[in-house]
């Protein structure tokens, strides 16, 4: 259908973001372009996309490209535009790029022993809000796991945040934690399927714990308890660890399909777009 100023739309037809306009320009935006647009006002954070092989290297110096599944990832470039790349200088601790045989999507496989990635310090000091998105497949729960955490722990330095997966030994759970001003807040441990799209939201401008930390599993807001209450305040300038607490303990055993961290609250509509894409890669139905 070609739409002109004189077009009459009958029967409820409507334009979608992927509609092609003949004689004009396509309005189709790739998932990467949509994510990059979220960072267009200089927001801090990162966007790691294992499906973009051009962003990964086998070594931390970025000299040996990742060209296929089965290779270690020593460096994954940040596609947010903030240059918060994640790296691993130690060979034994590098996750492996793998491919989902059903969906064809690539993911980072963390071995649950010693694999992790880390960033240099990311300056979140101008914000009290964070949104986090990840496609996950938890492949073991024998130990407490750290999917993501800042600093030596999310309370050190204060102004940090983190996600445990699982929260306790032998549990199929995860959570969301944040701190500021020497105080902290945390959700309870929420039971989840092993394959899930995680959407986390931290807002430390709020004055109740239930408003400060929230997360969704496969598009559904979880109903859980909260522990403690954080004071109002901004976040820290701090390194982020993915897959292991401070690179020392609590290794995450599982697969990560894309990881997005933005220093603001993402709108509901934007959240749905992100969740749908990660769900497609994972092969889960929202």
């Amino acid at each position: 259908m070609i739409r002109t100023p004189l077009s009459t739309v009958i029967g409820g037809a409507f334009w979608t973001p992927s509609a092609t306009i003949v004689g004009g320009t396509s309005k189709t935006l790739t998932f990467s372009q949509i994510i990059e647009s979220l960072f267009s006002n200089g927001e801090q954070g990162f966007f790691y996309d294992p499906n973009d092989l051009s962003t990964m290297y086998q070594d931390s110096a970025g000299t040996i490209p990742v060209t296929a599944a089965g290779q270690p990832v020593g460096l994954i470039l940040d596609k947010s535009g903030r240059n918060n790349h994640a790296y691993q200088t130690v060979s034994a601790s590098r996750p492996i790029l793998q491919c989902n045989a059903t969906t064809g999507a690539y993911y980072l496989a963390f071995d649950g022993v010693d694999d992790y990635l880390q960033t240099n310090s990311i300056d979140f000091t101008s914000t009290d809000k964070v949104s986090l998105f990840a496609g996950l497949n938890r492949t073991g729960n024998a130990n407490i796991g750290t999917l993501l955490e800042t600093g030596s722990s999310f309370t050190n330095p204060t102004g940090g945040f983190g996600i445990k997966c699982p929260v306790g030994v032998g549990e199929s759970t995860l959570n969301l934690m944040a701190s500021t001003g020497g105080s902290n807040v945390s959700t309870g441990a929420v039971v989840s399927p092993d394959k899930l799209v995680y959407s986390g939201f931290i807002d430390l401008s709020k004055t109740t714990a239930i408003e400060q930390v929230n997360f969704k599993v496969n598009g559904v807001l979880v109903n859980t308890t909260r522990s403690n209450l954080a004071s109002n305040g901004n976040l820290a300038n701090v390194s982020v660890f993915i897959g292991r607490r401070a690179g020392v303990s609590r290794p995450f055993n599982g697969h990560v399909y894309g990881f997005i961290n933005i220093g603001k609250l993402v709108s509901d509509n934007e959240t749905v777009v992100i969740e749908k894409e990660l769900a497609k890669q994972l092969g889960v139905t929202l």
Binding site: T89, V90, S91, A92, I96, G112, V113, D114, V167
Partner: protein
């Protein structure tokens, strides 16, 4: 060739620094043995890594190894436990190695018991 050889390494605490130095000489970074382990007879350190089989063959060739590893570090290799599984599963290999050695991940490092009332 793919990185499809699952390798678990475990070393007694006394030889950890020497083995980490050897790994560094092979260009593997500075702290490969990073998981603290507890045995009945003391502290051990371990790691899991994925290797290309041909790289491992090179690493375990005595003649080639002598060209890379200085004489003072070579005795530590006699204490290095290795468990190899081609096309293996990392966790299965790791857990089997710990069980065979009769050691476990140091409780202080890994599985902090949550105090009552704490959710993190």
């Amino acid at each position: 060739m793919s990185y499809n050889l699952s390798v678990v390494n475990i070393i007694p605490d006394a030889h950890k620094d020497a083995i980490n130095q050897i790994a560094e000489l092979y260009g593997c970074g500075s702290n490969n043995l990073s998981v603290k382990l507890q045995g009945d007879d003391g502290i051990y350190w371990g790691c899991h890594s994925w290797w290309k089989p041909e790289d491992y063959a090179t690493f375990s060739n005595d003649e080639l190894r002598a060209q890379v590893v200085p004489a003072e570090l070579q005795p530590a290799l006699a204490h290095l436990y290795e468990r190899l599984v081609l096309d293996g599963d990392a966790q299965e290999n790791w857990q089997a190695a710990l069980a065979l050695k009769g050691i476990s991940v140091s409780k202080n490092e890994f599985n902090h018991k949550r105090p009552i009332g704490s959710l993190f």
